[in-house]
Symmetry: D2
Subunit: 341 residues, 4 copies
């Protein structure tokens, strides 16, 4: 069998572990050939690929990023290509495609599948917001990086009687903020799922100071926003080219709290640091299992599906179920955190 593999969308620790696992299982167990398309779907459409043997994936298990590169999907070009998907596969010469990526990637995967191309997807979302799997790889690493940052900031906050506002990833779902906030013991957590009222945070900080705990840490998802009418964002920054740029909810909230509390409040924006670098053991194991099961599914001709973690098992779920709904943080998970939301 000839298997094509590609990675698309944003960076995520564990992508290389999936690639390696696909190659190991396919080559060692089945004697397959594996083609790695470069820069996501772009490489597929342009026929840019390289053969991936055991040596090509040697040493990448613990490396961040993706050896295959990634790129944004050009939708029109892609749509056109879909019509000739089967022909494309014949020309390049592969039997099944394993795309590794997030919602956009999997939607594209489904289109290819609908167009008749044998596809087995592997879900990737650092935000952990795909509903048809318990967890995705990369998330644990991101939570780990954010938690270590909160650990570090706490000692500074405490020594200087300060409020620290940490902005973490999570545009539509607040899982990283929730879990790193819980793991780091943040006193306030702001999620996209529940508009926050800065007044609640002010009360929390004042109560802490009143009982002698003269610092506080607030963990904010980048997609969190204040309840209507509770806080003004300001005009954002004007950069050197006259463009207005939104300064981010973490920065805005730190300014707001400093203003309302009359105490120092400092933002820390973790940004891309959460996306890169060595994956945790958890993410390497999950990514390896996903890759392995994708190859198995390919050999069982179980197409149009993607790998999924359910409890401790890896199962296959239809691509069409995978991308209908965003998995957001439910209320009972917030309750468990004993923080102000």
């Amino acid at each position: 069998m000839r298997i094509g593999v590609l990675t698309a969308g944003g960076d995520c620790p564990g992508l290389n572990a999936v690639i390696r696992s696909v190659v190991h299982r396919a080559v060692t167990h089945y004697g397959d050939e594996v083609l790695g398309f470069e820069d996501g779907y772009a490489g597929l459409l342009d026929g840019r690929y390289r053969p991936l043997d055991l040596n090509a994936v040697s040493g990448i298990l613990s490396r961040g990023g993706t050896i295959l590169g990634s790129s944004r999907l050009e939708r029109d070009k892609f749509r056109a290509a879909c019509e000739n998907a089967k022909q494309l596969a014949e020309e390049i010469g592969f039997d099944v495609l394993i795309p590794i990526g997030g919602e956009g990637t999997l939607t594209a995967a489904r289109m290819l599948s609908d167009a008749g191309l044998p596809v087995v997807g592997v879900p990737k979302t650092i935000d952990n917001d795909i509903s048809s799997t318990d967890r995705t790889f990369g998330f644990d690493t991101a939570v780990g990086v954010a938690t270590e940052a909160i650990d570090r900031l706490k000692t500074t906050a405490e020594s200087h009687q300060r409020v620290m506002v940490v902005e973490v990833m999570g545009r539509h779902a607040g899982w990283i903020a929730l879990e790193s906030g819980m793991a780091g013991g943040a006193h306030g957590i702001c999620l996209p799922e529940r508009p926050f009222d800065p007044a609640d945070l002010v009360t929390m900080v004042e109560e802490r100071f009143a009982r002698g705990k003269k610092f506080a840490v607030v963990c904010v998802a980048e997609g969190a926003h204040p309840a209507e009418g509770t806080m003004d964002y300001g005009k954002g920054e004007i950069d050197q080219f006259g463009h207005e740029r939104f300064l981010g909810i973490g920065t805005a909230l730190a300014h707001e709290l400093e203003h309302r509390l009359g105490k120092e409040a400092r933002p820390v924006i973790l940004g891309h640091v959460q996306r890169g670098g060595t994956p945790t053991a958890y993410d390497r194991v999950l990514a390896t299992r996903f890759g392995w099961h994708a190859v198995e599914a390919a050999h069982r001709a179980e197409y149009g599906k993607m790998t999924s973690l359910r409890g401790t098992d890896i199962t296959m779920v239809p691509l069409k179920d995978a991308i209908t709904e965003l998995k957001t943080v439910p209320k009972d998970r917030m309750d468990e955190a004993e923080s102000v939301f």
Copy 2:
């Protein structure tokens, strides 16, 4: 409500996070009092405890060990105490006991429960071998420590064309060896669940050397053992007091491989390093959730049960189901690893 809490059995990262979570939920939400028994059941039997308020658990979320101490159960003394369990609770003055511990601790918890004491258990096993929960806290940290060690050893092995044998925890179940072996990319993994044949490892190493990969890493659970007749253990060491001490399967296997291969093979025994120190974010979140749900169960008077992770949910399972069966590594999990077993 007055809640007693204790930690028993071996050390495990996340114990403090459970204690903290119990106190936070009980004190902040319910206005309960929490008593921390010292040194496990010993403190319960002797009535040694201290009140745990928010200040008492400040800063312990990220700390290894247990602020309450632990000790081995004295079975006879404990059995006698069981008969007066309800009286003991009345004398000390608590309404429910939350024991945090492994198989022995939970068996004892069930005896207390059978004797009429309201009990809500929290399972703890660094080996992840309790069957009635998907995962237990501490395991992820141990796997992380072991994986980092394998990462480090690989570069040394490669530079010096050596075989490294890493012995990790896991007396009866090989989960730590399996997952750290997968995460670290070990070329051989030896588990208690499947007796190994050193000849298979020899073949694997020789094949690697033959194709230019002049090193190998084998990850061995401390409870792994060779298939009958495949390897002699030797007599063990004689210490300075004339006692014979078993030198451990990792060391024995390294000697065996060195002898058979005629190449350098070195053992590394990770030992207690896996048990201590700062828990990973994953373990802190799981431990915090367990503590929170234990308090909830206590307030629902859902006694004789313990917390359990199923998928992404925390549920309560009867103590009697918790301790019947060891959760061991099944064959299909070994298959996923593409290593020699």
Copy 3:
């Protein structure tokens, strides 16, 4: 002997290690008493202190922040107090003061010393910019945090063909940017010591892309600035209260490079994460040695001096020499980095 100790100025990993070391040496070896003044010089002026015995410093060696707290110096109040420095010491009852802090703290220490108070200083600057010592504690930890961030960002930059601009600490001296830039293999490094020209960075990035290395990382000290006329900063951000806030050189430079290159360039501002958390082994050893030698100097009545690392030795240097000159990065240290400056 009764020894007073205080920590002043910004947070720095290793402060607790100094305090612990002072207490260990003074109490164990000399049978001294140690008083810990709270919140820096404020605690000294207000007579707020607590006794520090072995138990008080137990477990703090690896903890970030300072158990004594810190605060900004109120200059007028301090000046007034200086006149009665000796009287103050008599009232509170201590024989020698060990202030741990940066340039401001040591200047104040010198004033107290000039006013007749026995003082032994311990230098603290996370920026490593005090000229009379080879290194200061905290610096190694900050460089480590920044380097790990660069390591993580590199994989992301590479996978997405991006330019990443990392802003690290260093207002007047660029040591953190230099060393983390070298350790992380940054392709451009911008220091306060040498105004940079964005055009040089543009050339470097284009040359890299031309030879197939389609990413670049630039490490910028927060105090770095462009050579006159080479780049416009823009107006900064306008926050929700109408205040203009400078958006930081890292962000401005990322915007500039994105504009000039026509490629994605993203800023990452590490901020306070560099200041907090567990110190590295290097910093713990250095801090411990400083504390030990400060006590020795006190017992030799070697006042008006501070501890200093010279080569591998700890020596004592006069406070007046310590604070005259900022230690900046010399040209030959930049040469060693093989990066664009």
Copy 4:
């Protein structure tokens, strides 16, 4: 200029950083060619090498081990080769050799130099025991790994009222034990430089328990040994092939303390974990500077010397001075640790 580079002796984090730095400086600044000899001097003698350009060293800065491999010196073969050293260089076609290694490697380097080959050495000793340089790369990483292990073990020791004995590297010099012992806050430190008396450790532990600190950590260099007549080593282990193997001072001491104290004492042998993996930022900077200065020295034709750190400067010292004397831990450095030695 054509520069040959090789790595010899034991593994040490930072070797790749030196290689990368040599290539970067030589190729980018001077337009040199660099040849990498494989497996140490063996590759030189056999003429096995590969060209090292910028791509060949891409991404290795943070990687442990050595991309060039290493091997033990075959003395006789080497001696014979020395006589034709100049001829060898002519045949292979290189102008100067940069060997990176420890005492043996540098002794060999001196022999080559005496035989007329232009040589610039770079010192490497993870034990930090070369007297003509303040520090060597790799040492900081090893101390960091050992310190993290002690941090982890402390929580376990405390929770279980145990004595932990950690054996770290250091055959002839105890620097790793000294610095990781100080950084980890070990209560006893045993060095090769000073024979220890187990009775002193027993007294220390008993005093700790008496004042309520019911645990202790002892850090032992692998080369430490008891004072004559204070402790019997036992017979060592008998392995499965009937060979006697010394069980190591850490294990022997743990048994001894357990026997004398009547308390649990457990050995942890860190072993090869200290040698491998990602170097710390400190080691990467030092290694990079060594590599850079080696190339500069080559271009100044400053042969027969090696790089050396003195204070904050890199200087060149004659190879003949480098290898005369082992740098051991002096008494005053032990005094600073406030531990039992």
